[in-house]
Symmetry: C2
Subunit: 400 residues, 2 copies
């Protein structure tokens, strides 16, 4: 098991503290409750409260399991915690006397839970949303983090290699998706994909093909798909895969908490000329994004420029979805969660910096053929980008 190295954790806490101090006015303490942020800042996922003051030592208050937190986290102050009644006293120990300006994760903390914390902590407390600050911190990956994503990428490499053996007209897209999920786990996937937010379902991967694969989805994913059932309405379905019909497989590999996102195409038989033309078009747009991936370039610029290129090259109609059902982005940051910041989309005007990691996914929805496209996960380097994955982009072809 690859635990997060102590230096990583302590460095992250220091950087968060610098951001807390630099806030106007200062945020006295971050009360970190979200388990992914807790893992990022402590190295352990337990039932716990993480208190990070602007100055001084962080404290991890653990309801369950104390021993495991102590074993996994380099934080020195790890204490048992049995009642929320003690929270105020613990905050005073790390942040000094009131009044307090407390950073808390308002993007994921349920309204009822937030209101409980407001009540428990009482007067002389101002709450501010700490999630954007932690997201900003998380958006710049260390070299150790890039290595984790490269490791996860090996699962996607192996899935790509296994596809010729697995793909068969006996399977439905949902069955193929299920078999790929299992293979991913046997290749080291930890079986969980983390998406941030409300009403989102984390699937390890989706497979789509043909008209039902082209169905628009309710979610923010470029691949919709009929799904196996109305209660999920996303991804593969129970229709058998047809010969000569493009099969898209979009997988979120996660071997160590860090995700690698990759999309490839496969076909039983051969893609027809129209499908090949679209595939070549999407590959061309992927190269166009790559040419723009470097520090200083704004995600919103890349988005607008690539949209204009798609238009210019006659690929606009189905690009990122059919008209009326398009998703408003062409890529997204990824790390401990799949939907991190920045996004290759409008309004993301802050320039890219070294250490950003972006999954770039030009995709085209064709009502009959399904979805056609590619996706790679890239790190922004000092002067350009590195593709963190190793799988060939060639369409996997198997004999009918």
């Amino acid at each position: 098991m690859t635990a997060i190295p102590p230096d990583e954790i302590l460095g992250r806490i220091q950087k968060l503290q610098a951001l807390l101090s630099a806030s106007e006015p200062t945020i006295d303490v971050a009360l970190v409750l979200d388990q992914v942020n807790q893992y990022y800042l402590s190295g352990t996922i337990q039932s716990a409260h993480l208190l990070v003051p602007a100055e001084g030592e962080a404290t991890l208050l653990v309801r369950k399991v104390l021993e495991r937190a102590q074993e996994e986290s380099p934080i020195e102050n790890i204490k048992p915690f049995s009642s929320l009644k003690n929270l105020s006293a613990e905050l005073e120990l790390v942040a000094g006397p009131r009044p307090w300006r407390i950073g808390i994760e308002l993007d994921v903390l349920p309204a009822k839970t937030f209101s409980l914390y407001q009540k428990i902590l009482g007067d002389s407390v101002e709450f501010v949303d700490i999630s954007p600050t932690i997201a900003q911190l998380r958006s710049v990956k260390s070299s150790w983090e890039l290595e984790q994503i490269r490791t996860s990428a090996q699962i996607n490499q192996k899935l790509y290699e296994a596809m010729p053996e697995i793909l068969s007209p006996e399977l439905s897209t949902y069955e193929l998706q299920s078999v790929l999920n299992c293979r991913a786990c046997l290749f080291g996937h930890i079986g969980l994909v983390r998406m941030r937010g409300f009403n989102v379902d984390g699937l390890i991967g989706v497979v789509a093909s043909g008209p039902t694969g082209a169905e628009p989805g309710h979610s923010a994913f470029p691949i919709g798909g009929l799904g196996p059932h109305p209660s999920i309405a996303h991804g593969g379905d129970f229709n058998k895969i047809h010969v000569h019909t493009p099969v898209i497989f979009d997988y979120l590999a996660n071997q160590n908490g860090y995700h690698h996102d990759q999309t490839r195409m496969a076909v039983i038989g051969k893609l027809n000329a129209e499908a090949m033309k679209i595939f070549d078009g999407m590959q061309g747009l992927l190269r166009a994004v790559e040419a723009r991936l470097k520090p200083g370039k704004a995600p919103s610029e890349i988005y607008e420029e690539v949209l204009a290129l798609a238009e210019e090259r006659g690929l606009a109609e189905g690009f990122m979805g059919q008209p009326g059902y398009k998703v408003p982005f062409i890529g997204h940051a990824i790390g401990l969660e799949v939907n991190e910041t920045p996004v290759l989309a409008k309004k993301f005007d802050a320039p890219l910096v070294e250490g950003n990691v972006l999954a770039v996914e030009p995709k085209y929805t064709h009502p009959e053929l399904g979805v056609i496209g590619l996706e790679n996960t890239y790190a922004i380097t000092e002067d350009g980008f590195e593709n963190l994955g190793t799988a060939s982009e060639e369409v996997v072809q198997v004999k009918p």
Copy 2:
């Protein structure tokens, strides 16, 4: 695909309306945003707002995908919805002029999102938590719903039957868990398990065995387990399964949105006398719960009585976890989500009624052997209970 029949949906809306009217003071309209509650009350999961007034017709406002919502839901008023700015006008159409008392799901709606709705809807609006009301409605299952759970139970039956062929000392508990997940999907599982709440990960199933399987977990599950990685810290791990060591497999089957929860034991070789004694003890406690499952009996009474029985029978030490790490329940309601209400725990004093569905899971954690126990999902009937599953309770034995 088993869509929810129109009569079910319309009946549920009517019942919710009766509860809104009966509230003191009346709740004018429920603004349903959680996708599971939306699915329960509309039959579709889209990016949408569901408005259910205390009187009059419900309206489903769909951002994406309108056609799919229209196809899947029997609600007559289904309208496109592109901006939150129109929400106030739409509420006025269904609930009449302000002031409004609006029911909203404060248990899952993020604090920031709630605050956005407060801002958008402005003055003369009082918000109340509608989740407990919808949970109460959902806690009584119709005969159609029971049939869905019986259907999902067939996946668990098939997993039980497949175990002798799958279990092998070549596998780690995590690998066995992954293979079972895949089999479940090939048997019809839709690949998703829904848990309600913050910081919860929905796993299709967990496998645990031996000392690492006995590790206490941070979550509310009776089976903890080392897990494959610190970022998940739950379920199977990469240690190979040992002969003569109990293997527990706890699976959440979901073929149609409705979950069936089942736990069984397996072993390569034979359970030793100590393990058999614990297994017999847990089976005895399961029978003791069954004898108490009937309308009129309070979940809290069942809990207390079975805890006393465990004590009496010398099974208290590891029952529902080792001392200091016990979970405070012996069963939970289940349906569209895994963690529904009521729970077989303290404070659940409202008597059981016909149509409640409970997963009952007496389990014993032994530091060396791992977790030993059983779980069945039951419906409360007119005068007792029905076991909704069909799998034998016998320990699956395979040759070393």
